[in-house]
Amino acid sequence: MDWMTTIGQLINTTLVFSTALIFAAIGGIFSERSGVTNIGIEGLMTFGAFAAGVASFYAEDAGMGAASPYIGLLAALVMGIIASLIHAVASITFKADQVISGVVINFLAAGSTLYMVKLLFDGAGETTLLKEGLTKWPVPLLSKIPIIGEGIFNNYPTTYLAIILVLVAFYVLYKTSFGLRLRAVGEHPSAADTVGIKVLRMRYIGVILSGALAALGGATITLTTTNTFSHNTISGQGFIAIAAMIFGKWNPLGAFGAAVFFGFSQAIGNYFQLFAWSKDIPQEFIYMLPYVLTVVVLVAAVGKSSAPAALGEPYDPGKR
């Protein structure tokens, strides 16, 4: 095989695998920057993947053709917002332990999505296979560039959206007053309260954004990779997104780098089997690689994590 095509394809697969992680990790950043731990990202992704699978199927059924995956994305967005409200109400308004509340989201997602799938699809364990998944949008001209043309500019619309999202999230968090307020609420809520920032409202916005984005991430897996939703569509991607967020030090650019790194280590597994020198490496070690590398990198380079100072603490205005 021509090495240029190989590298181009490797970059392409990497980005496909990273897309969902980018969405979910950025979502996590909005929630945690506002001071609300969100271990429920996994569940929120599951809700999104489910909503996309079901809504796209019904849209197809109604004859909406190529528009149906976009209906799926929209449904995921709404579903993610609704599900994240459970987390927000419990942990912000009622000051429940945020970790516990996140675990609840994961449990509810695992149970209710499959329950509804069985209800809607006559007891089947997965949604009916979609005929119309998302299709790739080659960017005119740019996709003709060797290597990166195939690698970057011949991709799913959701991948472009994810990359744009990173830049937007960075801009919003660090260059707007909204971002400053969000971060202030996560670092020192009572100080933020003193200068008139609505702490609870900012936290609600953070959690809702995380729900919407994580669900979109989950939806991209259904719509680009599996074309169906079943119990193992997400299987741990949400936890990897949380890792990418921490790895990236709660910064959108860092999280993007970490997500691409995870995507790359998932993508490269397929390529190891192609070459004579690498095909004897046990497959388990290739699967293990991203996780072991993460630990090594965290220990060697990152050291002390720089979590938002008030992360995990419910804010009680009456307490000083």
Partner: protein, 359 residues
């Protein structure tokens, strides 16, 4: 009504009990919306578990590893650590016990089983200890390391089974030697061949150990002090770093033992995993419902095990998808975590009643 209200303001055993009832009600409502009969569903759930001795024994089998992973998560919680890695520690415990059970030969009957159990516990402890060490020495977030180690354990376990322990032509290991088995033959016979084993007894003893260690020993006091306020503990002259590693190690031993019991007492082999077994993640729920107290965990693991095991009978008897049980468990945790919600829901009811009385 005022009595009901009082239940929620007093931090007592009744809080989880009311949450359980509310969780079951949520499940019933969702079943009604789906067009199922909740009464039939719940009655077939409980009649599955308590209907005959075999299923009752198998439910106990289901409960045992949940006690161990629940204790693991709770032990770390008490020391201020979130051990989301019980899953990986459980797998390492399984793998070590399988390896010792198959490869070590010529040991007498009880000794071999003990060595295999200890190997499982140590493997889990060391696996968690890595997390504790990195947290203590390098300040790396324990949650992210645990998540990474969960996946690493899954593939490492598969690698070991595939390359060293495999039964030819099958996706599982050879059987462990009979000398390493902790099954209780006579008890299994009494329970109509349900898979009963000594692990259940050890699990209950482990809960007692947890209680005595945590609340009656100086070491446990230090662990709790570190969990409450690390800086204060340090100021009082305690070695915070040492305590973090110790807490994670003991936590991992619990989870690893849970895995070892599953191999030595139930399956007698280890299958190649296609996905994470999930017992460690369930341990988080068990610990939360059990209020992170060892005796609470015995109860919550029993509830969890009964609901999970019975859900199969529920789908058989009332045609309800067994996933409903995960919604019920999620709701129970939700109500325990956000007691304020329950109070908020009950408050208008409570006030209205009072007004009516006045009128």
């Amino acid at each position: 009504m005022s009595k009901v209200f009082k239940i929620f303001s007093v931090n007592s055993l009744l809080v989880p009990l009311v949450a359980i009832v509310l969780g079951l009600i949520v499940g019933a409502i969702i079943m009604l919306i789906g067009g199922y009969d909740p009464l039939l569903a719940y009655s077939s759930l409980f009649s599955t578990v308590f209907g005959n001795v075999y299923d009752f024994g198998e439910a106990i089998r289901e409960i045992t590893p949940l006690i161990m992973t629940g204790l693991a998560v709770a032990f770390a919680f008490r020391a201020g650590l979130f051990n989301i890695g019980a899953e990986g520690q459980y797998i390492m415990g399984m793998t070590a016990a399988t390896a010792v059970g198959i490869k070590l030969t010529g040991l007498p009957i009880v000794v071999h089983a003990l060595v295999a159990i200890i190997a499982g516990g140590l493997a889990g402890g060391i696996w968690a200890g890595i997390t504790g060490y990195l947290k203590a020495k390098r300040g790396v977030n324990e949650v992210i390391i645990s998540i990474m180690l969960n996946w690493t354990a899954l593939y490492l376990g598969n690698y070991i089974v595939n390359n060293f322990l495999l039964q030819k032509g099958q996706q599982k290991s050879e059987e462990i030697k009979d000398t390493a088995s902790i099954s209780i033959g006579w008890l299994s016979e009494a329970f109509d061949n349900a898979r009963m084993h000594w692990g259940t007894v050890i699990a209950i003893l482990a809960a007692v150990f947890f209680f005595i260690y945590m609340w009656k020993s100086k070491q446990g006091y230090e662990l709790r002090a570190v969990g409450h306020n690390g800086d204060a503990a340090k100021y009082a002259g305690m070695n915070v770093k040492k305590n973090i590693v110790k807490a994670m190690f003991i936590s991992g031993v619990f989870a690893g033992l849970g895995g070892a019991f599953q191999v030595l007492g139930v399956f007698h082999y280890q299958a190649v995993f296609t996905g994470s077994p999930g017992i460690g993640f369930d341990g988080i729920a068990v610990a939360l419902i059990g209020m992170n107290h060892p005796f609470g965990i015995l109860l919550s693991a029993s509830l969890f095990g009964i609901l999970t095991y019975g859900s199969a009978g529920m789908s058989f008897g009332a045609d309800v998808p067994p996933e409903i049980i995960r919604i019920v468990i999620g709701s129970i945790i939700f109500f325990i975590a956000a007691q304020g919600i329950v109070r908020w829901v009950l408050k208008p009811l409570y006030l209205k009643r009072k007004k009516e009385k006045v009128l």
